[in-house]
Symmetry: C2
Subunit: 132 residues, 2 copies
DNA sequence: CTCAAATATGTTATATTATAACAAACGTTA
DNA sequence: TAACGTTTGTTATAATATAACATATTTGAG
């Protein structure tokens, strides 16, 4: 059986740094930040990222090729994700809205395709950036 | 003023090949397909892609780093895009659903961010692939 | 018409993101 | 404890995207 709960050493290191970050992190910036911990190669980062995504611990922001920690309990293993992205400061906020999630999970394509998963990215300028 | 309607030579070449394609095309596969027409470098492709996206003629499928022609009249200059993506055959279908589009365009984040644009990607297995 | 500004092109080089392939170590459990 | 799955370490390379600079073409204001 797959080890669903416990994280391996590298997985824990990568998750820690993503959780501590204020915004989305890119794979190579994670790599540079963990080289002191003995992780030397992109593969080690990407492997940990893949597993963490599979566990629903982190999400990939596709439009930015960057990764954020999961802050929501609604996105059951990343099957239904939504994010708000500021185009100015790059801030990413996970949207946890039950109505939205239900609406989209129930949405089905006319052409008969049954969806297993969705990812939604909203873009705009956040409150903080508007003041500047 | 910007030339909103007319396409330049390279833009037309790139748009043509994307429109003729049955599925999403990647930048380098476009490049290889137009080298006979005198386009030699990635820059030329990426520049054309950027402009075409700006005009709303094509869309980028973020989860695949690939490009499709716009088939919809609803996505006014790419401000509101939704796609259905088959995880087996890689087929991408643009979703043009007024209700969905209105629902999402009207959605606003609790934290006071006003959205200018969204992109939604649904994943599943298409009808055709289910039969196999 | 004509010249300046904006847009597009061509080109070389390089940055960034991601995966392939292989060998070794570790953990789990039958 | 042997076998299997998973994780690790490592080197190399593939795939995606942008920087920077020189030149050409188009467009529109005067």
């Amino acid at each position: 059986m797959a080890r669903a709960q416990t994280l391996s050493r590298n997985q824990q290191i990568v998750l820690d740094i993503i959780q501590k970050a204020k915004g989305p992190l890119k794979a190579y910036s994670i790599l540079f930040n963990v080289q002191k911990k003995g992780i030397n190669a992109p593969q080690q980062i990407y492997r940990a990222l893949d597993k963490l995504i599979g566990m629903g611990k982190i999400h990939k922001i596709e439009s930015k090729n960057a990764f954020v920690a999961c802050r929501s309990s609604d996105c059951e293993i990343s099957k239904a994700t939504a994010f708000s992205i500021c185009e100015s400061c790059e801030m990413v906020d996970e949207i946890s809205d039950t109505k939205l999630s239900k609406y989209l999970s129930g949405f089905n394509h006319k052409k008969g395709m049954k969806f297993k998963r969705f990812n939604l990215e909203f873009f705009g300028i956040c409150k903080k950036c508007k003041k500047d």
